[in-house]
């Protein structure tokens, strides 16, 4: 473990918390890279990062199970209230209520199907709600299909980061070299000025750039 990390832990900072906090700049850089260089779309950075934490609270498999439940329930709900004339706030209330039901239903199925007895923390529930709400909002702004698309990409990138954070090697490196968090910021500044095509744009414009 690096001197700085050691000093901070000895000063009373929880090791897990320190690890997550030091890892966040690196994860944020990873998301910036995915969005600006690769070109995948995700929800905003904050939601993408916290969605990963939900996976830690529930476990990977159930995490995926829950987020898919939310997606399906959200699509069903949209279909049901499509022809209703309602104020947007009321629609939001319905969405949130439906997500609650979705979580109950998913917990029940997790119990029934996989004998899942994990205690789901209140934080995980909050984060799942946040995901559901963001999904509903993005659909108003970007349309149904695009919204689903962004949701799924956020989840996939969340999964990648989950694997990253869960790896003990990554943990060792981050705690041993806290300087990496600073280096990440330098790279943010660099990627923040990139003006080249994103990888997905190379694909999108492939007909125009064929040799």
């Amino acid at each position: 473990m690096g001197q700085l990390s050691l000093f901070l832990i000895q000063s009373g900072i929880n090791q897990n918390a320190l690890y997550i906090l030091l890892a966040i700049p690196v994860i944020a850089l990873f998301i910036v890279f995915i969005r600006q260089i690769i070109g995948f779309e995700t929800f905003n950075l904050y939601i993408t990062v916290v969605s990963i934490l939900a996976f830690f609270a529930t476990g990977l498999l159930y995490g995926i199970f829950f987020v898919l439940y939310i997606l399906i329930f959200e699509i069903i709900l949209r279909y049901l209230i499509k022809n209703f004339t309602l104020h947007h706030t009321a629609k939001e209330a319905l969405t949130i209520s439906f997500i609650s039901f979705a979580i109950i239903a998913s917990l029940y199925s997790a119990h029934a199907l996989f004998n899942y007895h994990h205690e789901v923390s209140i934080y995980a529930i909050l984060i799942l709600m946040l995901l559901g709400e963001s999904l509903a909002t993005i659909k108003i702004k970007k349309g149904e299909r695009h919204g689903n698309y962004i949701y799924i990409q956020t989840i996939i990138i969340g999964l990648l980061i989950y694997i990253m954070i869960g790896s003990s090697d990554f943990r060792t490196i981050i705690l041993k070299y806290p300087i990496l968090s600073l280096i990440a910021i330098i790279f943010d500044l660099y990627i923040g000025r990139v003006t080249s095509l994103k990888l997905t744009e190379y694909f999108r414009f492939r007909k125009l750039i064929k040799d």
């Binding site: 104020h87 947007h88 970007k142 349309g143 080249s196 095509l197 994103k198 744009e201 190379y202 414009f205």
Partner: protein, 461 residues
Amino acid sequence: MIGISKEKSKGLLGMNARNLLFIDKKATVISNSKIRSKKRLKDFNIPVSKTIATIKDLAEFNNFDFSTLPLSFVLKPNRGLGGEGIIIVYGKKKKKSEEEEDSWVMPNKEVMTLTKLKNHILDILNGNFSINSRDDIALFEERIKVIPLFSKFTKQGLPDIRVIVYRNIPIMAECRIPTIESKGKANLHSGGVGVGIDIANGITTNAILKDSSIEVHPDTGERLGGIKIPYWNKILEMSILSSIAINAKFLGVDIAIDKNNGPLILEVNARPGLAIQIANNDGLKERLLSVSKIKTKNPQSSIRIAKEIFGGEIEEEVNELTGKIIIGKKVKVLIGNMTTPAEAKVDSGAYTSSISEDIAKELGYDKILENFNKIDTPLNLNIGNINIKEEELKKKYTLNLKSIRSANGFSIRPVISTSLEFCDTDVIIDTEFTIAQRSYMRYPIIIGRKDLSNFLLDVTK
């Protein structure tokens, strides 16, 4: 990467470059508000879609007399994004009884009741369609009537023309046509069709739907290419004036054509989408950079510059339609084992291509020339005897010969067979050249009709 031209990809505008290098922040602030940008445009006497009424807050909403609304109108959020939250009604529905509430018919034949309309306005005021989710203003506009040229393409919605203007010069244009899938919206990402437009003449080129090429409109089957957009110069002028009025460096201007009033500005957009590049089969960045140092005096000179620099897509279109490539009077060619391209004259008056003796020697046909010079070429050739003489000589000497009729009369020339590559194009053919004995030929290489079947000749080039 395999199959990707670095040069060509440099000319494309991606999201990163658009956001960092070209988006004009001041223009974004104005263009985000339809009311503000319309006011600016009006101050410059640019025709805009007419505002019927606005509802700014709940107090105005409660006092609003909905019976004053006309039979057809468009309801928009002031700070909407990507065409979301827009409602179009075509006419009032007849009431079956006195108690029944007012209702209107929407383009897809659905009914918009007054209650639904009011709820939608509350949604708008609440900021649900607003760019930054803050409280917004509801805007009633006069419905623009689609011109017959466009109404044959689409069953619902209003086609519009998007012109991208940079430094007050129109850079690229496309026509956006709604589909059933786009629910009447012209926005490409909602499923609208985008058709590239040749800036020089306002004629549509290739069409795309969701980034892929199409030939016909998905709903009506109408061909999308080769349509002349009416009022083209006026549209270019209006887009330039809009960019001046908004004081924007980089701006997308959306223009609709009304049946009665001609072209009107629908809205301006500081963050225009990038799919226009696919519709025009060309990169925006290259075009943006090519005018980055040009200063224009007035809209007329901007139009001239734009037409001069960016016109000419139609040539590629002709190529696509006829499978033929347009060439000028002079072309660069590679003959046989030549290593550097030579200039050749295209001569549709000649049938066979010819090269001068010097070129023939360069290509290594010295021997053939030598042998040919040993022959007693008959004099007094005329139309009656030339073919007979040709056969006689062919029998006598084992040389490949050809009789030629040129402006100077009849002659018999040696012939070589070799390859002919038109540089600038992909065309390589195997053909014959006669060797002209005159070394004073003005053009040492002449390409005749026989080798031009892949091309159309543009005598102005």
